[in-house]
Amino acid sequence: MARAAVLGRLSWRVGTVTALRDETATARTIVIDVPGWPGHLAGQHVDVRLTAEDGYSAERSYSIASTPANGQATSQTVELTVQRLADGEVSPYLTQILKVGYPLELRGPIGGWFVWDPAGPRAAAPVLLVAGGSGVVPLMAMIRERAAAGSRTPFRLIYSVREPGALLYADELARREQAGDGLEVRYVYTRTAPPGSGQPTGRIRAALLASAGWPPERSPAMFACGPTGFVEAAADLLVHAGHNPGAIKTERFGPSGGQS
C-alpha cells in the first residue's frame, strides 16, 4: 500500500487555521497547516478535539476534503469541510467562531479501509461514489486525488441533497465534469429540484443506480458515505442490483451526521 499506510501510533497534533472558505450558507471549509503531517490517502479522516478553559473537551471526526499535494511530496495542509448542525456542539464552533490564526487540535490520518488510492492494486477499476449530504466530503477528496494523480479511472458520482443550495463544491464539480476526462456526476434532490429543471424529487432508487452507476459486469469499486439510513439504503440497492457486497465500502456519519 502507498504512503501513509504505516505511520507509527497516532497522537494529537496542533495545526493552525490558515484560511476559511464558505461552501454554502451552513458549511465551511477550514484550511489547516499541520507541521509534521505525514500525508494521507483520499477517504481518510481526522478526529478534531476542542477544549474549553475549564478542561471540558469534545471530539468529533471529520473527513479530509483535500488531496495530498499532487500525489507527490508530502504537504502539511489539511482541509476539512464542516456542515453546521443547529443543535451541534462542535460544528457551530468550527463554522462560526474559529478564525484564521486559531489553533486546532487533531489526530490522524485515520482509516485504511474507506480509501481510494490511485497507485493501489485495484486502481484501474471504475469507481462509483454515492454521497448523501455532507457525505460527499471524503468522496470529493477521491475526485481531487484522481485529478492530481492524472488518473483516467472512470468515476461516477451520485450526489443526493435536499435542495440545490445544499450542494457542496457545486462549481468545482461542474468544472471537473466539463473537463471530460472521465468524471460523471448525477445529482439527486430529495425535497426541491433546481427551478425550471423539471427534475423529479425523491430518494435514490434502483433505476437511477442502473442509469447513473456501473453495471456489475464492470466490477466497480463502490464507496457510499452519508447518514446511516442513506448509506444502508444505497448499499442494499447495490447488492440487489447484483454488485459484489465485498466491493461496497461504506462510511456512516450517524443520525446526527456524525459531524456535530
Binding site: M1, G108, G112, W113, R252
Partner: protein, 88 residues
C-alpha cells in the same frame, strides 16, 4: 433503529494503540460466524466506552475504553483478526 455509526470511527483511538490501521482488519463474529472488516461493525459511540457490534446478529465484536494514560481492549467477540501488513 439506526442510532449507530460504524467502525471507521474507532480508527482514531485504535490508531493510538496500534501502529497500523485496524479498521481494515477482518474478523469473524464468535456468535454467528459472519466475517466483517472492523470498519463495517455497528458502533454505538455514546457510552462510557466504545462498543462495536456484528451487523448481522448484534453480538459484541469488540469493546474499547480509553482512560487517562491507559486503554482497555476486549476482542473476545471475534475469533481472530486478520490484518494487512506491508511487505512480504
Amino acid at each position: 433503529m439506526s442510532d449507530y455509526m460504524d467502525g471507521n470511527m474507532l480508527g482514531g483511538t485504535l490508531g493510538e494503540l496500534f501502529s497500523m490501521d485496524v479498521t481494515g482488519a477482518t474478523g469473524t463474529c464468535v456468535s454467528c460466524g459472519a466475517s466483517w472488516a472492523i470498519a463495517q461493525a455497528r458502533v454505538y459511540p455514546h457510552a462510557p466506552g466504545m462498543v462495536a457490534r456484528c451487523p448481522a446478529c448484534d453480538a459484541v465484536l469488540l469493546r474499547l475504553v480509553r482512560g487517562p494514560g491507559r486503554a482497555w481492549l476486549d476482542l473476545r467477540g471475534v475469533t481472530c483478526l486478520q490484518l494487512a501488513v506491508p511487505g512480504p
